[in-house]
Structure formats: C-alpha cells, structure tokens
Assembly symmetry: C2
Homo-oligomer: 351 residues x 2
C-alpha cells in the first residue's frame, strides 16, 4: 500500500504563517448530529427602515446617514480602537510575563452600496470596482495620519461569521501597531526573500499553482484565485495578483478591473456551491502604510465556515484550538467542487 | 489624562504562544443584533435510547456499548487519524512551497459517566477523580505505542462548540507528530528556561498570579485557576499545578484530588455565570510521551465562547482571523465576574 494524499491523513505546511494543518480526507463521510446553521433564503428589501446602514437612517449615536448612492464610509460607532487615548508608557513592555502596550487607532465601516440586499456575489463588476476605489481611498487617507501603521480591511458576511447587520458592508481597523497575523506573514516573506535571492514567496507560489492547475478556482490575466495548498477552512481561497504588487494603491486600472472580476466570480461560485448566501470572513493583507515595504505582496484571504451544505459547518474547536487546525476534505477536492459551480448567480438562473 | 488599562485599548502578550491579543475594554457596551445562541435548559434524561454513547446502545459501525458504570473509553468511529496507513515518504518535506507529511495516529472517545445528563459542572469531586484516572490510563497506554508521540486530550461541550452529542464525553487524539500549539508552547518553555537560569515559565507565572491575586478564580493547596493575563476568549481560564509537574501520570494522589476539586469548582462557576450549561472547548497540554521532557508544565486551557449572556457569544472572526484576537472586557473584569459566582450549581440551588 503506498501513501495516497487524497485519502490518508497528512499535514500540510503554510509557509506564510509557518504553521501546519492536519488533513483527514477519509473523514468527510462522518454523520452530523450537532448544530445546524440557519439559512436566510428570504429576499431582503432594497431598503429597510430599521437598518442603521441604509441611506437616510439614524445610527446608534444619533448621526443620520446621507442619501448615498454608491459606497459610504463612516467612523465605527463602537470602535475597538480609538485615537483619543493617551499613548501608553513603555515600562510594562519590559516585563517577561505580564507584557502590555497601548494601541491607538481608528475603526471605519464601508457600506458596499445603498442596497440593503445586494451582496458582492450579485453585484456587477462595475459595482465592485467602486468598492475597490473606496478601499484605496481609505488606505491613502490613513497613510496621512502619522500614528497609523497598519490598515486591516475585512468583511464578515452572514450571521455564522458574527455579522450583526445584513446590509452588505466591510470594515477597516487602522492601528498604531502591526497585528500578529500580517506581521507573521511579513516575517515569512522577508525570510523567503533572503534565502531565495530576492524572490517573493507569493510570486513564486502563484507561478507554482499555475503550473499545477489543480487548486485554481478563478483566473484572469492579472489575478489568480486558488484553494491554497495549506487551506484550513473547507472552501478557503487565496486571491492574489500574479505580478508583485505591495498594496491596493499600486494596482493599475486594468488590475483593478481584473480584481473586481475575480471577486465577483469567486463570491458567485461560493453562493452557488450550496445555493445560499455563503457566509465568510474576508480580509486584505498588504503593506503597512508609509513603510519601505517592497517585501509585501497584496492578497485576499476568504475564510468560509460551511462544510457540506448550507446548514452544516466545520467547527474549528477542541483539537483545532488546542493542537492544530484540521480539515476533512483536501484542498484539491474543494477546488474541484468550486470549479464545478456556475459563475451566474443561482437567483438569476431561476429567473 | 494618564493611560488606564481598564478602559483604554491595549495589547497583551502571551509568552506561551508568543502572540499578542488586542483588548478594548470600553467596547463591551455595544448593542448586539447578530446571531443568538440556542440555550438548552431542558432536563435531559439519565438514559437516552437514541444516544450512541449511553450504556448498552449501538454505535455507528454496529459495536454495542457495554453496560459501563464509571467512565468508558473506545476508539472513535470517525477518527481523524488512523494507525493502518503507510508511513509517508519524506521527499515532499523538502519542498519550500508545497510541504506535506503523513500523520498516523489513533482517536479515542471517553464517556465521563453512564449518565446522559451529568456534566462535569454537576459531578462530585469523586466522579471527576475517575475521569482523571481514565486520562492517566489512556496517556500511559499510548506511551507504549512507539509510533505515538503526542496525546491531545480535550472536550468540546455544547452545540456552540461543535459538540455533536450532548452525552458528556471527551476525546483523545494521539499523533505521530507533536501538533502546532503544544510545539509552540514547548519552544517557549525551553527558551524561557535558558534565559532564566532553569526557571519554568509556568511555575514563575503561577507565583506571580498568587502575588497579584486579581486574576485568580479558583485556588486550593496544589492547583491554581486564573483568567490568564493574555486571555483571548471572554472567560478563558488556565488551570495548572503550582508545583512543576510535566504530565498527568506524575500527579500525586493529593494533587489528583485537588485537580478534581478545581475542575468541579471552575465548571460549576461557569454554569452559574449565565445560569446555563456553559459551552467550552477544554484541553490538556502536557509532555509528549516517552520524551526527555522536564521543560513541560501540565496545564488545562478552557476556551468558552459566551460573552454577555447565555445567548450572546463572542465571535472571533474577521479582524481576529486576519489580524489579531480581540476581546471586549479585561481579564481582571472577567475574573471578578467568575469570582462572584457560587460554587453550588444553580440547579441544586433552586431545589
Ligand atoms: O469529533 P466530534 O466531536 O464529532 O467533532 C468536533 O470536534 C472535532 C475536534 O475538535 C472537530 O474536528 C469537529 O469539527 C467538531 O465538530
Ligand atoms: O463590528 P461587528 O461587525 O459588529 O463585530 C464583528 O466583527 C468584529 C471584527 O471581526 C468582531 O470583533 C466581533 O466579535 C464581531 O461580532
């Protein structure tokens, strides 16, 4: 009997985070008697008078949203970081066991459009281009504030991913310090560059995936979307420019169009996979603001929780929290399933 | 205005995992309109004929459970790792980008008692002592199998933590390779020991917490349970022996009694906090089997998801997955709340 990676248990290594993932392909047949997710199949209205993100409505602290017609960005009413706090003394940072440091910052919310019901999966490429320009504007605005070092752009979609308002929106948390995950990736990118005579890990990885083909889900001239070799979530994808680009403002207008195309196609395939609004957390990793940062390679991570249907998710709990992330199907199998999905949204197909 | 760690945003450093956590104490007042957890307040029967873990019942692959009267351990019917697969070739480990290795192992399930309805929170200390002896037996049994290197013992409790059967039970995943999390902790313990002239990080940390008092929740002669300075989950606790003990089999019978006492008291306080069966993932970190492992210091992590009530949980999603774990109340505030809870279970109080 020889080792077969599509059925025998194995670990894969994530060179970006330098951590292993346990993969158990034979385990996907396990019956499920635990928690079922709620699926929201009802059609939402274009406008909801109770929604604090819809145009013209009142927000938590009394501000009234303008009658916006495209994207709309505002300061988060319950920000996790604030700019009006003192900078902390550094004394406590000397402590080996109880180490602490202050963090100033700003949190912003970006509504993707005035429409209460329009997710990225059902938007046109032109709509998505507007979101990308809004991200670029926000990133640039932050670069002008000298206490901001890193801008984390992300979207939580769906109740299963802790989203508390269904009006499609993303967030920006802008921080005085580079957070753990991007810092870990930067360290890996820098180390790879040193060992590999100036090569970029993600440029090399994109080439490798194009050669292997098996994990590609969406591709166009300048962007590539794969289920990464080291995916943790069942249908996790990594979306990145084929050429070296350090941050959103560096994208050419052609690359921006291609990015919008790739975002539309992958989110549409996601919805079609289980014929439901596919929940996920999505986030952008790019260079810290105002740094000498040629080592960074812009990319998007999508972390969707669903495993086998609209109601059965993967729980990353006990073993995963205490020991190592674990997955039940191979990234190649997941890519196959996503490749089999249409790029026309199921709601449009049924019309 | 001077910096105040109980209201200003800050980061704390976890010396075991060498990662930071963002803490935003002012943010706990945020209204919640997202997903609400289901609370199961109904009294379960002592025995459920449909439960594949109850005594005398049939399991997924046809095996019949014995009429067990104490704990009961069996091989997981849907194991994530198996012993009957070939060992993998190591060729692929040389690849910088697509690195992969085979993992053999065994997965076991431990029913905590024949009772379908009896969680640790409502057990007597004597009942819990039996579970500890079962863990010790399992760990010892694994040490005799030469392909097993690490034994991860854990419990997922509650549907919110992916538990698919409410009959109280835990698991053991026994692996050919030490997984990411324990390996990271071992590396930290070893490094600390070198810098600090042979001192153990967790021995020093326990002393420090006893001196500070503010984060202690449960304490007896030989065990200490704190909300760690670097807790990620709102009511996360760390339970550890005050003296240096590398693994469960090293515990004296007095320490085993104290461990059972601490487990009963912390799980009972958990249930009392929001008057519900408190969900969590719990796991034991200890020395790998058969190694020269004096650097390891046995400890238990409890990761419970609830934040503000039986139905409102903390979601570690977008920012947390992409950037850095974030919490809304300080560990000291969480310890205060847990200290205010009774050690008599709410169901017994109402009788
Ligand atoms: O084995 P169980 O309890 O059915 O499964 C649960 O715990 C496992 C170990 O943490 C996870 O991999 C599963 O996702 C979870 O549903
Ligand atoms: O800001 P929101 O969307 O209300 O909150 C959501 O996303 C945040 C950032 O990932 C998390 O910290 C919260 O736990 C989650 O509920």
């Amino acid at each position: 009997m020889s080792f077969d990676y599509s059925s025998h248990s194995h670990r894969r290594y994530n060179p970006l985070t330098r951590a292993w993932i346990l993969c158990s392909p034979h385990r996907n047949q396990r019956p499920w008697q635990g928690q079922k997710e709620k699926v929201n199949q009802e059609d939402r209205p274009h406008y909801d008078s109770q929604c604090y993100l819809c145009p013209g409505n009142k927000r938590a602290h009394g501000d009234i949203n303008p009658n916006y017609t495209s994207t709309f960005c505002f300061m988060n009413d319950f920000a996790a970081v604030q700019d009006d706090q003192p900078s902390s003394t550094s004394d406590d940072e000397q402590d080996d066991l109880l180490r602490i440091q202050g963090v100033r910052g700003e949190c912003h919310v970006i509504c993707f459009s005035p429409r209460h019901d329009l997710t990225m999966a059902e938007m046109t490429t032109d709509d998505i281009v507007k979101i990308i320009y809004q991200w670029i504007k926000c990133y640039r605005d932050m670069a002008s504030k000298d206490f901001i070092r890193y801008v984390q752009i992300f979207e939580n979609k769906g109740q299963a991913m802790g989203c508390s308002n269904p009006h499609p929106h993303g967030q920006l948390w802008c921080l005085e310090r580079t957070p753990v995950e991007p810092q870990r990736e930067f360290d890996s990118l820098i180390a790879y560059r040193e060992i590999h005579h100036g090569h970029c890990l993600l440029c090399d990885y994109a080439k490798r995936e194009i050669k292997e083909q098996t994990r590609i889900v969406v591709e166009n001239d300048t962007f590539l979307c794969v289920v990464p070799f080291w995916a943790v979530w069942p249908f996790e994808v990594l979306l990145l420019p084929k050429d070296h680009v350090t941050c959103l403002p560096q994208l050419s207008s052609r690359q921006i169009d291609d990015l919008a195309d790739a975002l539309r196609r992958i989110t549409c395939r996601y919805d079609n996979l289980f014929q439901c609004p596919f929940p996920y957390s999505m986030g952008i990793h790019q260079a810290p603001v105002r740094q000498n940062h040629d080592y960074a390679h812009l990319h998007f991570h999508f972390y969707p929780p669903l495993l086998r249907s609209a109601t059965i998710r993967k729980f990353l709990v006990g073993f995963e929290m205490l020991a190592e992330p674990q997955r039940d199907l191979t990234p190649e199998q997941a890519a196959n399933q996503l490749r089999a999905c249409s790029e026309i949204h199921y709601k449009q197909q049924h019309q």
